[in-house]
Amino acid sequence: MPDSLLKTPLHDAHVAFGARMVAFAGWSMPVVYTGIVEEHNHTRNVCSVFDVSHMGRLRIEGDDAEPFLNRICTRNLAGAEVGRSYYSHVCREDGGVLDDVIVSRYEDHWLMVCNASNRAKIVAWLRWQGQGRDIDLTDVTTSTAMIAVQGPRAMTLAAEIVPVDLSALKRYRFIAVEFLGMQFSIFRSGYTGEDGLEVVCPAGAARMLLPKLVGAKDEPHPEIRFAGLGARDTLRIEAAMPLYGHELTEEVDSLTSGQGWCVDLSKDFIGVETMRKLKEAGLRRKMTGLELDGKRIARQHHKVCAGRSVVGEVTSGTMSPTLGKSIAMAYVEPDRATEGTALEIDLGGKRCGARVVKLPFYKRSK
Protein backbone atom coordinates (compact mmCIF):
# COMPACT_ATOMS: atom_id res chain seq x y z
CA MET A 1 0.00 0.00 0.00
CA PRO A 2 1.65 3.29 -1.07
CA ASP A 3 2.64 5.66 1.74
CA SER A 4 0.84 8.59 0.17
CA LEU A 5 -2.62 7.22 1.02
CA LEU A 6 -4.44 8.93 3.87
CA LYS A 7 -5.31 6.79 6.88
CA THR A 8 -8.43 7.22 8.96
CA PRO A 9 -8.15 7.32 12.77
CA LEU A 10 -9.41 3.71 12.82
CA HIS A 11 -6.90 2.35 10.31
CA ASP A 12 -5.01 0.20 12.81
CA ALA A 13 -8.26 -1.30 14.08
CA HIS A 14 -9.26 -2.35 10.56
CA VAL A 15 -5.98 -4.14 10.09
CA ALA A 16 -6.22 -5.75 13.54
CA PHE A 17 -9.69 -7.07 12.66
CA GLY A 18 -8.38 -8.62 9.47
CA ALA A 19 -9.75 -6.16 6.91
CA ARG A 20 -8.52 -6.20 3.35
CA MET A 21 -7.51 -2.59 2.73
CA VAL A 22 -7.83 -0.88 -0.64
CA ALA A 23 -7.04 2.55 -2.02
CA PHE A 24 -10.26 4.54 -2.26
CA ALA A 25 -10.40 8.25 -3.11
CA GLY A 26 -6.88 8.70 -1.78
CA TRP A 27 -7.55 6.84 1.47
CA SER A 28 -6.62 3.38 2.70
CA MET A 29 -10.05 1.88 3.42
CA PRO A 30 -11.40 -1.52 4.50
CA VAL A 31 -13.32 -3.17 1.69
CA VAL A 32 -14.14 -6.42 3.49
CA TYR A 33 -13.44 -8.20 6.81
CA THR A 34 -15.11 -11.63 6.77
CA GLY A 35 -17.17 -11.49 3.57
CA ILE A 36 -19.31 -8.93 1.79
CA VAL A 37 -22.51 -11.00 1.93
CA GLU A 38 -21.90 -11.89 5.58
CA GLU A 39 -21.34 -8.24 6.53
CA HIS A 40 -24.33 -7.17 4.47
CA ASN A 41 -26.64 -9.70 6.15
CA HIS A 42 -25.35 -8.80 9.60
CA THR A 43 -26.25 -5.16 8.93
CA ARG A 44 -29.77 -6.09 7.85
CA ASN A 45 -30.29 -8.45 10.79
CA VAL A 46 -28.24 -7.08 13.70
CA CYS A 47 -25.79 -4.16 13.69
CA SER A 48 -22.64 -3.17 11.81
CA VAL A 49 -20.05 -0.44 12.21
CA PHE A 50 -18.66 1.35 9.16
CA ASP A 51 -15.67 3.69 9.22
CA VAL A 52 -16.73 6.57 6.98
CA SER A 53 -14.04 9.00 8.14
CA HIS A 54 -12.80 9.37 4.58
CA MET A 55 -15.86 11.45 3.69
CA GLY A 56 -15.32 15.21 3.56
CA ARG A 57 -16.41 17.22 6.58
CA LEU A 58 -16.51 20.95 5.99
CA ARG A 59 -17.35 23.51 8.66
CA ILE A 60 -19.03 26.67 7.38
CA GLU A 61 -19.78 29.73 9.49
CA GLY A 62 -20.26 33.49 9.21
CA ASP A 63 -23.09 35.95 8.77
CA ASP A 64 -23.61 34.95 5.15
CA ALA A 65 -23.48 31.21 5.79
CA GLU A 66 -27.17 30.50 5.43
CA PRO A 67 -27.84 32.49 2.23
CA PHE A 68 -24.57 31.20 0.78
CA LEU A 69 -25.45 27.55 1.41
CA ASN A 70 -28.97 28.17 0.18
CA ARG A 71 -27.52 29.41 -3.09
CA ILE A 72 -25.17 26.54 -3.75
CA CYS A 73 -27.52 23.81 -2.56
CA THR A 74 -30.64 22.60 -4.37
CA ARG A 75 -32.43 22.12 -1.05
CA ASN A 76 -34.27 24.92 0.65
CA LEU A 77 -32.10 25.74 3.66
CA ALA A 78 -33.65 29.08 4.54
CA GLY A 79 -34.81 28.88 8.14
CA ALA A 80 -33.11 25.53 8.62
CA GLU A 81 -33.60 24.22 12.15
CA VAL A 82 -30.76 23.78 14.55
CA GLY A 83 -30.26 20.07 15.11
CA ARG A 84 -31.51 19.03 11.69
CA SER A 85 -29.70 17.48 8.70
CA TYR A 86 -30.64 18.10 5.07
CA TYR A 87 -29.75 15.93 2.07
CA SER A 88 -29.01 18.12 -0.94
CA HIS A 89 -27.20 18.33 -4.25
CA VAL A 90 -24.62 20.92 -5.18
CA CYS A 91 -24.85 21.70 -8.89
CA ARG A 92 -23.25 23.62 -11.72
CA GLU A 93 -25.07 26.31 -13.71
CA ASP A 94 -25.97 23.73 -16.34
CA GLY A 95 -27.57 21.56 -13.66
CA GLY A 96 -24.79 18.97 -13.60
CA VAL A 97 -24.41 17.47 -10.12
CA LEU A 98 -21.09 18.30 -8.48
CA ASP A 99 -21.85 16.21 -5.40
CA ASP A 100 -24.57 15.03 -3.08
CA VAL A 101 -24.11 16.22 0.47
CA ILE A 102 -25.69 16.35 3.87
CA VAL A 103 -25.83 19.80 5.44
CA SER A 104 -26.44 20.07 9.19
CA ARG A 105 -27.33 23.18 11.15
CA TYR A 106 -25.66 23.80 14.49
CA GLU A 107 -26.23 26.79 16.78
CA ASP A 108 -23.33 28.82 15.43
CA HIS A 109 -22.15 26.99 12.32
CA TRP A 110 -22.98 24.45 9.62
CA LEU A 111 -21.40 21.10 8.76
CA MET A 112 -21.39 19.87 5.19
CA VAL A 113 -20.52 16.20 4.67
CA CYS A 114 -19.51 15.43 1.10
CA ASN A 115 -18.13 12.42 -0.78
CA ALA A 116 -14.46 11.62 -0.24
CA SER A 117 -13.89 11.61 -4.00
CA ASN A 118 -15.26 15.15 -4.33
CA ARG A 119 -13.72 16.82 -1.31
CA ALA A 120 -11.12 18.88 -3.20
CA LYS A 121 -13.66 19.83 -5.87
CA ILE A 122 -16.30 20.91 -3.36
CA VAL A 123 -13.84 22.87 -1.22
CA ALA A 124 -12.66 24.71 -4.34
CA TRP A 125 -16.27 25.32 -5.43
CA LEU A 126 -17.27 26.68 -2.03
CA ARG A 127 -14.22 28.91 -1.82
CA TRP A 128 -14.82 30.28 -5.29
CA GLN A 129 -18.55 30.84 -4.85
CA GLY A 130 -17.92 32.24 -1.37
CA GLN A 131 -15.65 35.05 -2.57
CA GLY A 132 -16.74 38.45 -1.28
CA ARG A 133 -19.12 36.88 1.21
CA ASP A 134 -18.90 36.84 4.97
CA ILE A 135 -18.24 33.16 5.37
CA ASP A 136 -15.47 31.02 6.81
CA LEU A 137 -14.79 27.53 5.50
CA THR A 138 -12.67 25.03 7.42
CA ASP A 139 -11.97 21.53 6.16
CA VAL A 140 -12.13 19.43 9.35
CA THR A 141 -11.90 16.06 7.61
CA THR A 142 -8.47 14.98 8.79
CA SER A 143 -8.90 16.13 12.40
CA THR A 144 -12.18 14.27 12.86
CA ALA A 145 -13.63 10.81 12.39
CA MET A 146 -17.04 9.58 11.33
CA ILE A 147 -18.45 6.19 12.30
CA ALA A 148 -21.75 4.75 11.12
CA VAL A 149 -23.62 2.28 13.32
CA GLN A 150 -26.36 0.65 11.26
CA GLY A 151 -28.93 -2.11 11.69
CA PRO A 152 -32.18 -2.95 13.48
CA ARG A 153 -30.30 -3.28 16.80
CA ALA A 154 -28.27 -0.09 16.33
CA MET A 155 -30.42 2.31 18.37
CA THR A 156 -30.86 -0.12 21.27
CA LEU A 157 -27.16 -1.00 21.42
CA ALA A 158 -26.10 2.64 21.05
CA ALA A 159 -28.31 3.55 23.99
CA GLU A 160 -26.24 1.15 26.12
CA ILE A 161 -23.00 2.80 25.02
CA VAL A 162 -23.80 6.50 24.75
CA PRO A 163 -24.74 8.13 28.08
CA VAL A 164 -27.32 10.36 26.42
CA ASP A 165 -31.01 9.81 25.84
CA LEU A 166 -31.38 8.96 22.17
CA SER A 167 -35.04 7.99 22.34
CA ALA A 168 -36.22 11.41 21.19
CA LEU A 169 -33.75 11.63 18.30
CA LYS A 170 -35.74 11.49 15.06
CA ARG A 171 -34.46 10.60 11.59
CA TYR A 172 -32.25 13.30 10.05
CA ARG A 173 -31.88 15.06 13.37
CA PHE A 174 -28.72 15.22 15.42
CA ILE A 175 -27.51 16.10 18.88
CA ALA A 176 -24.16 17.52 19.99
CA VAL A 177 -22.98 15.97 23.23
CA GLU A 178 -19.92 15.99 25.39
CA PHE A 179 -18.63 12.54 26.31
CA LEU A 180 -15.23 11.49 27.66
CA GLY A 181 -14.42 15.21 27.68
CA MET A 182 -14.84 15.51 23.92
CA GLN A 183 -17.48 16.77 21.52
CA PHE A 184 -19.57 14.21 19.66
CA SER A 185 -22.29 14.86 17.09
CA ILE A 186 -24.74 12.00 16.80
CA PHE A 187 -26.89 11.95 13.67
CA ARG A 188 -29.79 9.59 13.12
CA SER A 189 -29.02 8.89 9.49
CA GLY A 190 -27.24 6.40 7.28
CA TYR A 191 -26.56 4.96 3.86
CA THR A 192 -27.77 1.40 4.31
CA GLY A 193 -31.56 1.52 4.39
CA GLU A 194 -31.51 0.46 8.04
CA ASP A 195 -32.06 2.55 11.15
CA GLY A 196 -28.96 3.77 12.91
CA LEU A 197 -26.55 6.55 13.68
CA GLU A 198 -23.57 8.36 12.26
CA VAL A 199 -21.18 9.82 14.79
CA VAL A 200 -18.74 12.65 14.13
CA CYS A 201 -16.02 13.27 16.70
CA PRO A 202 -12.36 14.27 17.04
CA ALA A 203 -9.94 11.72 15.64
CA GLY A 204 -8.63 10.67 19.06
CA ALA A 205 -12.14 10.30 20.43
CA ALA A 206 -12.96 7.77 17.72
CA ARG A 207 -10.19 5.47 18.91
CA MET A 208 -11.62 5.61 22.44
CA LEU A 209 -15.17 5.03 21.23
CA LEU A 210 -14.42 2.15 18.92
CA PRO A 211 -13.74 -0.63 21.46
CA LYS A 212 -17.09 0.16 23.10
CA LEU A 213 -18.69 -0.56 19.72
CA VAL A 214 -16.88 -3.56 18.23
CA GLY A 215 -14.84 -4.74 21.22
CA ALA A 216 -11.41 -6.18 20.43
CA LYS A 217 -10.33 -8.78 17.91
CA ASP A 218 -9.99 -11.54 20.52
CA GLU A 219 -12.99 -10.34 22.52
CA PRO A 220 -15.48 -8.96 20.00
CA HIS A 221 -18.78 -7.33 20.90
CA PRO A 222 -21.46 -10.06 20.83
CA GLU A 223 -23.64 -8.20 18.32
CA ILE A 224 -21.78 -5.30 16.72
CA ARG A 225 -19.35 -6.13 13.92
CA PHE A 226 -17.27 -4.20 11.46
CA ALA A 227 -18.48 -3.97 7.86
CA GLY A 228 -16.53 -2.64 4.88
CA LEU A 229 -17.03 -0.67 1.69
CA GLY A 230 -18.06 -3.78 -0.23
CA ALA A 231 -21.10 -4.34 1.98
CA ARG A 232 -21.75 -0.60 2.06
CA ASP A 233 -22.25 -0.74 -1.69
CA THR A 234 -24.56 -3.77 -1.77
CA LEU A 235 -26.62 -2.27 1.06
CA ARG A 236 -27.07 1.11 -0.58
CA ILE A 237 -27.96 -0.46 -3.96
CA GLU A 238 -30.74 -2.48 -2.33
CA ALA A 239 -31.98 0.76 -0.75
CA ALA A 240 -31.65 2.47 -4.17
CA MET A 241 -29.48 5.21 -2.72
CA PRO A 242 -27.40 7.04 -5.30
CA LEU A 243 -23.61 6.84 -5.36
CA TYR A 244 -21.59 9.68 -6.84
CA GLY A 245 -19.72 8.46 -9.87
CA HIS A 246 -22.56 6.09 -10.71
CA GLU A 247 -26.10 7.52 -10.41
CA LEU A 248 -24.77 11.03 -9.87
CA THR A 249 -22.23 12.70 -12.13
CA GLU A 250 -21.70 16.13 -13.64
CA GLU A 251 -23.47 14.83 -16.74
CA VAL A 252 -26.78 14.28 -14.94
CA ASP A 253 -29.07 16.80 -13.26
CA SER A 254 -30.79 16.38 -9.89
CA LEU A 255 -34.28 15.95 -11.35
CA THR A 256 -33.30 13.17 -13.73
CA SER A 257 -31.40 11.46 -10.92
CA GLY A 258 -34.67 10.77 -9.15
CA GLN A 259 -33.73 13.01 -6.23
CA GLY A 260 -35.98 15.88 -7.26
CA TRP A 261 -37.45 15.83 -3.77
CA CYS A 262 -34.30 17.61 -2.53
CA VAL A 263 -34.65 20.35 -5.15
CA ASP A 264 -36.65 23.52 -4.47
CA LEU A 265 -37.32 25.01 -7.90
CA SER A 266 -39.06 28.01 -6.34
CA LYS A 267 -35.84 29.44 -4.91
CA ASP A 268 -32.68 30.80 -6.50
CA PHE A 269 -29.75 28.36 -6.55
CA ILE A 270 -26.92 27.60 -8.98
CA GLY A 271 -28.48 25.38 -11.60
CA VAL A 272 -32.14 26.28 -10.99
CA GLU A 273 -32.68 27.90 -14.40
CA THR A 274 -31.56 24.78 -16.23
CA MET A 275 -33.65 22.51 -14.04
CA ARG A 276 -36.78 24.61 -14.47
CA LYS A 277 -36.38 24.32 -18.24
CA LEU A 278 -35.74 20.59 -17.98
CA LYS A 279 -38.85 20.09 -15.91
CA GLU A 280 -40.95 22.01 -18.40
CA ALA A 281 -39.54 20.17 -21.39
CA GLY A 282 -39.96 16.82 -19.65
CA LEU A 283 -37.16 14.57 -18.42
CA ARG A 284 -35.56 12.45 -21.12
CA ARG A 285 -34.36 9.73 -18.75
CA LYS A 286 -35.71 8.23 -15.55
CA MET A 287 -33.83 6.55 -12.67
CA THR A 288 -35.25 3.04 -12.82
CA GLY A 289 -35.01 -0.22 -10.90
CA LEU A 290 -34.43 -3.46 -12.81
CA GLU A 291 -34.60 -7.07 -11.71
CA LEU A 292 -32.64 -9.42 -13.97
CA ASP A 293 -33.57 -12.97 -14.94
CA GLY A 294 -31.02 -15.47 -13.71
CA LYS A 295 -27.88 -14.87 -11.75
CA ARG A 296 -25.79 -12.64 -13.97
CA ILE A 297 -24.92 -9.23 -12.63
CA ALA A 298 -25.31 -5.98 -14.58
CA ARG A 299 -22.52 -3.43 -14.18
CA GLN A 300 -22.21 0.30 -14.76
CA HIS A 301 -22.40 1.26 -18.46
CA HIS A 302 -24.14 -1.93 -19.58
CA LYS A 303 -26.81 -0.93 -22.09
CA VAL A 304 -30.51 -1.41 -21.48
CA CYS A 305 -32.33 -2.52 -24.63
CA ALA A 306 -35.82 -2.94 -26.01
CA GLY A 307 -35.45 -5.09 -29.08
CA ARG A 308 -32.80 -3.47 -31.26
CA SER A 309 -33.02 -0.06 -29.56
CA VAL A 310 -30.83 1.09 -26.75
CA VAL A 311 -33.20 2.71 -24.26
CA GLY A 312 -30.96 3.21 -21.28
CA GLU A 313 -27.77 2.51 -19.37
CA VAL A 314 -27.01 0.76 -16.08
CA THR A 315 -25.46 2.86 -13.32
CA SER A 316 -25.06 0.18 -10.61
CA GLY A 317 -25.76 -3.52 -10.23
CA THR A 318 -25.20 -6.43 -7.90
CA MET A 319 -26.59 -9.73 -6.69
CA SER A 320 -28.83 -8.65 -3.83
CA PRO A 321 -27.99 -10.71 -0.74
CA THR A 322 -31.30 -9.84 0.92
CA LEU A 323 -33.53 -10.55 -2.08
CA GLY A 324 -31.46 -13.30 -3.72
CA LYS A 325 -31.95 -11.59 -7.07
CA SER A 326 -29.73 -9.72 -9.51
CA ILE A 327 -30.72 -6.05 -9.34
CA ALA A 328 -29.63 -2.93 -11.16
CA MET A 329 -30.25 0.79 -11.20
CA ALA A 330 -30.37 2.39 -14.62
CA TYR A 331 -31.32 5.54 -16.50
CA VAL A 332 -34.07 4.52 -18.90
CA GLU A 333 -36.32 6.37 -21.36
CA PRO A 334 -39.44 7.31 -19.36
CA ASP A 335 -41.93 5.50 -21.58
CA ARG A 336 -39.99 2.24 -21.15
CA ALA A 337 -39.65 2.69 -17.41
CA THR A 338 -43.09 1.77 -16.16
CA GLU A 339 -43.30 -0.99 -13.57
CA GLY A 340 -43.43 -4.44 -15.16
CA THR A 341 -41.93 -3.48 -18.52
CA ALA A 342 -39.81 -6.27 -19.95
CA LEU A 343 -36.39 -5.14 -21.19
CA GLU A 344 -33.00 -6.66 -21.88
CA ILE A 345 -29.57 -5.76 -20.59
CA ASP A 346 -26.52 -6.21 -22.80
CA LEU A 347 -23.97 -7.66 -20.39
CA GLY A 348 -21.09 -6.94 -22.74
CA GLY A 349 -22.10 -9.27 -25.56
CA LYS A 350 -24.65 -11.50 -23.86
CA ARG A 351 -28.23 -10.35 -23.40
CA CYS A 352 -30.18 -10.91 -20.21
CA GLY A 353 -33.89 -10.38 -19.65
CA ALA A 354 -34.93 -7.85 -17.01
CA ARG A 355 -38.10 -6.36 -15.61
CA VAL A 356 -38.73 -2.83 -14.35
CA VAL A 357 -39.48 -2.88 -10.61
CA LYS A 358 -40.33 -0.17 -8.10
CA LEU A 359 -37.55 1.49 -6.16
CA PRO A 360 -36.27 0.91 -3.58
CA PHE A 361 -35.62 -2.79 -4.00
CA TYR A 362 -35.57 -3.17 -0.22
CA LYS A 363 -37.35 -1.23 2.47
CA ARG A 364 -36.90 -2.01 6.14
CA SER A 365 -39.99 -2.92 8.09
CA LYS A 366 -40.80 -0.09 10.47
Partner: protein, 125 residues
Protein backbone atom coordinates in the same frame (compact mmCIF):
# COMPACT_ATOMS: atom_id res chain seq x y z
CA UNK B 1 -0.80 -18.25 1.70
CA UNK B 2 1.00 -21.10 -0.01
CA UNK B 3 -0.26 -22.45 -3.31
CA UNK B 4 -0.15 -26.11 -4.45
CA UNK B 5 3.07 -26.94 -6.28
CA UNK B 6 1.50 -29.64 -8.44
CA UNK B 7 0.44 -27.08 -11.02
CA UNK B 8 1.42 -23.96 -12.94
CA UNK B 9 0.07 -20.43 -12.71
CA UNK B 10 -0.59 -17.23 -14.62
CA UNK B 11 -0.10 -13.79 -13.10
CA UNK B 12 -3.79 -13.25 -13.82
CA UNK B 13 -4.49 -15.78 -11.05
CA UNK B 14 -5.42 -18.91 -12.99
CA UNK B 15 -3.96 -22.32 -12.17
CA UNK B 16 -3.36 -25.21 -14.58
CA UNK B 17 -2.91 -28.84 -13.58
CA UNK B 18 -1.70 -31.32 -16.20
CA UNK B 19 -2.55 -35.03 -16.44
CA UNK B 20 -1.42 -36.50 -19.73
CA UNK B 21 -2.86 -34.13 -22.34
CA UNK B 22 -5.75 -33.01 -20.12
CA UNK B 23 -5.35 -29.61 -18.46
CA UNK B 24 -7.62 -28.79 -15.51
CA UNK B 25 -7.99 -25.08 -14.79
CA UNK B 26 -9.40 -22.78 -12.18
CA UNK B 27 -8.66 -19.56 -10.34
CA UNK B 28 -6.47 -19.27 -7.26
CA UNK B 29 -7.71 -18.82 -3.69
CA UNK B 30 -6.14 -15.36 -3.77
CA UNK B 31 -8.28 -14.39 -6.77
CA UNK B 32 -11.37 -15.83 -5.11
CA UNK B 33 -10.81 -13.77 -1.97
CA UNK B 34 -10.25 -10.64 -4.05
CA UNK B 35 -13.57 -11.22 -5.81
CA UNK B 36 -15.33 -12.07 -2.50
CA UNK B 37 -18.68 -13.85 -2.67
CA UNK B 38 -18.89 -15.48 -6.11
CA UNK B 39 -22.43 -15.50 -7.40
CA UNK B 40 -22.16 -16.95 -10.89
CA UNK B 41 -19.68 -18.97 -12.93
CA UNK B 42 -19.84 -19.04 -16.71
CA UNK B 43 -18.18 -22.12 -18.20
CA UNK B 44 -18.18 -23.19 -21.86
CA UNK B 45 -20.02 -26.14 -23.36
CA UNK B 46 -18.21 -29.45 -23.58
CA UNK B 47 -16.84 -29.78 -27.10
CA UNK B 48 -16.01 -26.09 -27.59
CA UNK B 49 -12.62 -25.56 -29.14
CA UNK B 50 -10.48 -22.62 -27.98
CA UNK B 51 -7.30 -21.01 -29.24
CA UNK B 52 -4.48 -20.11 -26.92
CA UNK B 53 -5.27 -16.80 -25.19
CA UNK B 54 -9.06 -17.07 -25.51
CA UNK B 55 -11.42 -16.18 -22.68
CA UNK B 56 -12.87 -19.51 -21.55
CA UNK B 57 -14.97 -18.46 -18.59
CA UNK B 58 -16.27 -15.66 -16.43
CA UNK B 59 -16.56 -15.48 -12.68
CA UNK B 60 -18.98 -13.01 -11.21
CA UNK B 61 -19.13 -11.81 -7.64
CA UNK B 62 -21.09 -9.14 -5.82
CA UNK B 63 -18.03 -6.98 -6.23
CA UNK B 64 -16.71 -7.57 -9.76
CA UNK B 65 -16.59 -9.84 -12.81
CA UNK B 66 -13.37 -11.63 -13.73
CA UNK B 67 -12.42 -13.47 -16.90
CA UNK B 68 -10.47 -16.72 -17.24
CA UNK B 69 -7.98 -17.26 -20.04
CA UNK B 70 -6.51 -20.45 -21.49
CA UNK B 71 -2.82 -20.43 -22.39
CA UNK B 72 -3.27 -23.56 -24.49
CA UNK B 73 -5.44 -24.33 -27.50
CA UNK B 74 -7.72 -27.33 -27.17
CA UNK B 75 -11.17 -28.83 -26.75
CA UNK B 76 -13.28 -28.66 -23.61
CA UNK B 77 -13.81 -32.23 -22.38
CA UNK B 78 -15.40 -31.54 -18.98
CA UNK B 79 -16.73 -28.67 -16.91
CA UNK B 80 -17.55 -28.53 -13.20
CA UNK B 81 -21.36 -28.73 -13.34
CA UNK B 82 -21.64 -28.26 -9.56
CA UNK B 83 -20.64 -24.60 -9.91
CA UNK B 84 -23.99 -23.78 -11.51
CA UNK B 85 -25.74 -24.32 -8.18
CA UNK B 86 -22.72 -23.80 -5.94
CA UNK B 87 -20.55 -20.96 -7.25
CA UNK B 88 -19.33 -20.57 -3.67
CA UNK B 89 -17.23 -23.77 -4.09
CA UNK B 90 -14.62 -21.51 -5.64
CA UNK B 91 -14.54 -19.30 -2.53
CA UNK B 92 -14.49 -22.37 -0.27
CA UNK B 93 -11.83 -24.41 -2.08
CA UNK B 94 -10.52 -22.77 -5.23
CA UNK B 95 -7.80 -25.38 -5.88
CA UNK B 96 -9.88 -28.57 -5.61
CA UNK B 97 -13.70 -28.50 -5.36
CA UNK B 98 -13.72 -25.18 -7.23
CA UNK B 99 -12.03 -26.47 -10.40
CA UNK B 100 -13.72 -25.02 -13.47
CA UNK B 101 -12.76 -26.49 -16.84
CA UNK B 102 -10.86 -29.41 -18.35
CA UNK B 103 -9.33 -29.02 -21.80
CA UNK B 104 -7.63 -31.61 -24.00
CA UNK B 105 -4.67 -29.51 -25.12
CA UNK B 106 -3.52 -29.53 -28.75
CA UNK B 107 -0.04 -28.61 -27.57
CA UNK B 108 1.20 -28.45 -23.97
CA UNK B 109 4.17 -26.28 -24.96
CA UNK B 110 2.80 -22.91 -23.79
CA UNK B 111 2.50 -24.26 -20.22
CA UNK B 112 6.28 -24.33 -19.86
CA UNK B 113 6.36 -20.54 -19.84
CA UNK B 114 3.86 -20.29 -16.98
CA UNK B 115 4.78 -19.42 -13.39
CA UNK B 116 5.73 -22.05 -10.86
CA UNK B 117 3.98 -22.11 -7.48
CA UNK B 118 6.94 -20.24 -6.01
CA UNK B 119 6.94 -17.59 -8.72
CA UNK B 120 3.17 -17.06 -8.42
CA UNK B 121 3.40 -16.74 -4.64
CA UNK B 122 6.11 -14.14 -5.06
CA UNK B 123 3.92 -12.20 -7.48
CA UNK B 124 1.05 -11.90 -5.00
CA UNK B 125 3.04 -11.01 -1.90
Amino acid sequence: MSVPDDRKYLETHEWFQVDGDIVTMGITQFAASELTDITYVDVPKVGTHFSAGDVVGEIESVKATGEMYTPVAGEVVEVNEALADHPEYINDDAFETGWMIRIRADDLGPLEKLLTAEQYEASIS
